[in-house]
């Protein structure tokens, strides 16, 4: 089923003309309404009227996460705060969160793109959607919620956690659609197995899973163990939240709602726009947002775009599953962590030298993070209590700086791999590729 055939199955000509019209309108709008953009455009010596074709977007400057932090809290809003009817923030641990403001129209558009998303995975008004994304400032919970209401499904706003109760509800209410992170889906599957619940006897048929990187192997596992079709959802707070892109049951990429979010792929090194099919960093421009339109927002997510009509009938461009980041950002249990901040905190502890390695693993379903720190002759004490104290001191300091408790392990000097060029500081063993 397709929620909005007109929007999702446009011809190239229809789409391009709609996108251009919306892009021109948005560029002019932000230039007039947001001092940040006016300043940036002036610095780049570009006037809104110079955007004459879609390709002209490359003349506009990029917007980065740091710009949003700088504008904290409401600096990126294009309307007075009074017209904002809802606020969400990102889940970062460093400094100020990213703030996103939504007008009434923005919420309507969000509901619309989420309606498309849920329809794409096979949901309709007869379904019971068990929404285990967190409700609150995080966009996941309410994003799914608005989509569910739009299509008229029955939504269970249950959030994550209390897994046994989730399973009880799933059985009693006959949930047919599951929405959560892939790791939580696997955890649910495991607890269901422990409780002796047969997945086949549940009524689940599909689910959209996202908010963290995952793989085809994890998909197979979720599908097998929960007996449903597992599809990939993509979105980010800066742009709107979930609803930016969704995979259809053909499983050959995520359809971007490009009539609302204009995608580009750039080379993170040259910042040039790359041709279709090439792998690079995804850049998004919100061409219909009212409260907080983003111009050329650098997502730092690495993917590629693919054109051509999909077997599902949609013509919306497809993006590959995200395979990495163009910066060093890590998501640990859904929380954004920058290894560079861990390093900074680490080196602030007296006696610690920059020989360390951050190891991220997912032993079962939940992420674990550990920092291995090489002990130096100066740090080495003959007494266990001194070393334990040092270890705790490092852990405390990192926690104070980044807001996350990370296990520190002291290792022998020169035991961590050295390299000629860039040292491999982060070992992510979660295997997303």
């Amino acid at each position: 089923m397709i929620w909005d055939k007109k929007a999702e199955c446009m011809t190239q000509k229809q789409r391009e003309s709609l996108q251009l019209e919306r892009m021109q309108k948005t560029v002019k709008y932000v230039y007039e309404k947001v001092p940040f953009y006016k300043k940036r455009f002036n610095e780049s010596k570009i006037k809104p009227a110079e955007i004459k074709s879609l390709a002209d977007i490359s003349k506009l400057p990029f917007t980065a996460k740091a710009d949003l932090r700088e504008g904290y809290p409401f600096g990126m809003f294009a309307v007075p705060r009074e017209q904002i009817v809802e606020i969400h923030t990102s889940s970062g641990t460093t400094g100020k969160p990213v703030v996103a403001g939504y007008t009434r129209n923005d919420l309507a558009m969000w509901g619309e793109v989420m309606g498309r998303t849920l329809t794409m995975i096979g949901a309709n008004q007869n379904d019971v959607i068990q929404n285990c994304y967190g409700y609150g400032l995080f966009t996941g919970g309410l994003g799914i919620h608005y989509g569910a209401q739009r299509i008229g499904a029955t939504v269970l706003p249950i959030s994550a956690g209390q897994t046994k109760r989730q399973l009880q509800v799933m059985q009693d209410f006959g949930s047919t659609i599951l929405t959560c992170t892939p790791s939580y889906a696997l955890y649910l599957a495991e607890v269901a197995e422990e409780e002796g619940i047969t997945a086949k006897k549940l009524k689940l048929k599909a689910g959209c899973f996202g908010a963290e990187m995952w793989t085809e192997k994890i998909r197979d596992e979720i599908e097998k163990r929960l007996h449903l079709t597992a599809l990939n959802i993509y979105g980010l707070t800066e742009i709107i939240g979930p609803g930016v892109a969704q995979e259809c049951p053909k499983k050959n990429g995520l359809h971007i709602a490009e009539d609302h979010f204009y995608p580009e792929i750039i080379s993170p090194d040259t910042l040039e726009v790359l041709p279709e099919g090439e792998k690079g960093e995804l850049v998004l421009t919100g061409i219909t947002r009212e409260g907080m339109p983003m111009i050329r927002f650098r997502t730092k997510d690495v993917t590629a775009l693919r054109r051509g009509k999909c077997g599902c009938g949609r013509t919306l461009v497809r993006m590959d599953r995200i395979t990495g980041r163009s910066d060093d950002m890590l998501k640990i249990r859904g929380v954004i962590v920058f290894p560079s901040n861990i390093e900074k905190a680490l080196l602030e502890v007296k006696g610690v030298e920059p020989h360390y390695q951050i190891i991220v693993t997912r032993p079962q379903f939940l992420d674990e993070i550990e920092v291995k720190v090489e002990i130096t002759k100066k740090m080495f004490s003959d007494e266990v209590k001194h070393l334990e104290k040092l270890k705790q001191e490092i852990e405390d300091h990192i926690e104070e700086k980044i807001g996350l408790r990370i296990k520190v392990t002291l290792v022998e000097p020169k035991s961590l791999p050295r390299s000629e060029g860039k040292a491999q500081r982060v070992v992510d063993m979660r295997n997303f590729k």
């Binding site: 002759k377 080495f380 004490s381 003959d382 070393l387 392990t409 002291l410 290792v411 022998e412 000097p413």
Partner: protein
Amino acid sequence: MKLKQISVFLENKKGHLLEVLNVLSKAKINIRALSIADTSDFGILRLILPDPDKAAKILSQNKITVKETEVIAVGVSDKPGGLAEALQALNSANLNLEYMYAFVAKSKEKAVVVFRTENINAGIKALKKAGIPMLKAEEIYRI
């Protein structure tokens, strides 16, 4: 009275203790006494060897983190209450014992125990005052 002890940082990994012992074995250094303090992540290997300076040098050359620490070798009467008597001397002087471990071999009917007190000189003084015999470094290396 003071005795040099070599401490080695050991990651809690398979084969690491063996590595250290192999280095000593190749250098034909015999171990007189040893103890390991361990936590879940790492351990500290403490060694008494005939030529601690040489051993420290060789271990360092083999990229092993070592530290030389001073300890006291106490000759404890090999009878019930022998060790308690030595500890009582420290207790009376209000001194903390950081750690201790025993030699396997005996010296003249005395059991040899290594003490690391919080203040090594005060420790020696307290033991001396209580008449607890201590062994000289040379005597230990000859055991």
